[in-house]
């Protein structure tokens, strides 16, 4: 009896001593990180070097990536002076525009995804985004536009020609201002990972404002990805975590990313192209897919589809790993994602096929 108590006591003492004294692991010399502001958000890139790979080569690759993403931003900025900006100005003048070869692949991709999503993802949405003031983070509105203005913008959008995946030109479409904001970040993560891989870095995370693309592993373990809780407080920061398997994208769209409040209502940036208003019914959508452009466009389309139609929209887009947080905080997750994602203990997710 005495011996057993002694052993239990010593065991507990050893446990607490270990808990108190264990060292936090130091910074890992094989992890190279870089962070910068571009594309209207925080971008961070991490590399995990192979044994023997020089650290300064990794640092140089990430500097090169920053330049590459700044050039990408200039090219795809809807209200800038680069390739897409010029195209938009030509459309506004009533011209038919030829799509430059550098823009063609993503144009075709966007056209196909827009059709597959039933128009819930639509890059022709620029005028509506502008009307709501979400196109310029330095100049958000503090009140919603008038119902008449929204109705006019929706009507103009519906009357405009659709994008054709096979076409090399577009227009005339005077009312259309193209905005690739719901797909370009995902596409940029794809190109970034490709670029790092061809420079010899197979293990990386590129995080464009929460649009993640992951490749390889972090040494002897997979990369671990957290998903932000849509209503953060002291107990709820990270809603779920996921160990990635190889090469995949994790993209979240939420009503907390860009929004303003007016008379007690939240108006966020995820606009429904059919109604012209911020989509309702969900707080956030997370999509896991093989490529970033698809995951990015799909997360927007699923958010716009709302609690009743998101699952069907995901199927139409070929997405089988996704979860949504409904307006009341309830989580619904697809079976394929439920098998590998870990939610916070008190979240009680419901699984759907």
């Amino acid at each position: 009896m005495f011996l057993r108590r002694l052993l239990v006591g010593l065991g507990l003492a050893a446990l607490f001593a270990w808990l108190a004294l264990r060292q936090p692991p130091g910074t890992d010399p094989r992890l190279v990180e870089r962070e910068f502001l571009a594309m209207g958000t925080i971008i961070s890139a991490s590399l995990y070097l192979d044994p023997g790979q020089p650290r300064d080569a990794g640092e140089a690759a990430l500097r090169d990536l920053e330049d590459f993403l700044r050039a990408y931003e200039a090219r795809w900025s809807a209200w800038g002076t680069g390739a897409l900006g010029q195209l938009n100005q030509a459309l506004a003048r009533g011209e038919t525009v030829t799509i430059p070869p550098a823009l063609q692949p993503l144009f075709s991709r966007a056209a196909a995804l827009s059709a597959a999503s039933g128009g819930r993802f639509d890059v022709r949405i620029g005028r509506l985004v502008e009307l709501w003031g979400f196109h310029d983070e330095t100049r958000f509105r503090s009140e919603p536009p008038t119902a008449d203005a929204v109705a006019a913008a929706v009507h103009a959008l519906q009357a405009a020609p659709p994008l054709d995946a096979a076409a090399h030109s577009y227009g005339p479409a005077r009312a259309v201002w193209l905005d690739f904001g719901a797909i370009a970040k995902g596409d940029a993560t794809d190109l970034a990972i490709e670029r790092l891989r061809s420079a010899g870095f197979a293990h990386a995370i590129v995080n464009l404002g929460g649009n993640l693309r992951v490749a390889g592993r972090r040494g002897d373990r997979p990369w671990r990805i957290g998903v932000r809780h849509p209503r953060v407080d002291a107990q709820h920061r990270v809603l779920a975590s996921l160990e990635t398997s190889g090469d995949e994208a994790v993209v979240t769209s939420g009503d907390y990313e860009r929004y303003f409040e007016f008379e007690g209502r939240r108006y966020h940036h995820l606009l429904d192209p059919h109604s012209g208003y911020p989509a309702t019914g969900l707080q956030a959508v997370t999509v896991v897919a093989a490529d970033g452009a698809l995951a990015d466009a799909a997360s927007t389309a699923l958010f716009v589809a709302g609690p009743l139609a998101w699952r069907e929209t995901a199927r139409a887009l070929g997405i089988d790993q996704a979860f949504v947080v409904e307006a009341d905080g309830r989580i619904v997750v697809t079976a394929a994602l439920a098998r590998r994602i870990r939610f916070a203990d008190d979240s009680m997710p419901q699984t759907v096929p």
Binding site: P24, P25, L37, I42, E137, N207, V227, R228
Partner: protein
């Protein structure tokens, strides 16, 4: 042992279980954060010291508040206060930014236990 002892021990064990479930957090809490202006690191600060920091950005001063191991934007000279809406940050990998003022903060924690990146 009397029945009272059993009851007392049982209650104590339950209390331990409940406090464990209620208060134990996985060790992903950040220990320090970095402040950048236009992408350049302007400072690294521990989260353990409560204080207010004024960061000079493109438009003016952003006020950061550090309290109880957390940090947040308390004020910033931007219009819509997206940064202030971001609220308290306390976990490694979390970040917030005031884009108009070009000020961003990123939290770093125990590399081995937390997540490597956060989708938001």
């Amino acid at each position: 042992m009397t029945r009272g002892d059993v009851l007392a021990i049982g209650l104590a064990a339950m209390l331990v279980g409940v406090s464990y479930a209620r208060h134990w957090k996985p060790p992903v809490t950040a220990t320090r954060f970095e402040v950048r202006v236009a992408g350049q690191v302007v400072g690294r600060y521990p989260l353990a010291i409560d204080r207010e920091l004024m960061i000079d950005g493109a438009l003016g001063l952003s006020k950061l508040k550090v309290e109880n191991g957390r940090v947040r934007f308390a004020a910033s000279p931007c219009r819509n206060k997206v940064c202030v809406h971001s609220g308290w940050l306390s976990h490694g990998g979390e970040a917030a930014a005031c884009l108009p003022n070009r000020v961003s903060i990123t939290l770093a924690g125990d590399a081995g236990s937390g997540v490597d990146a956060v989708s938001f």
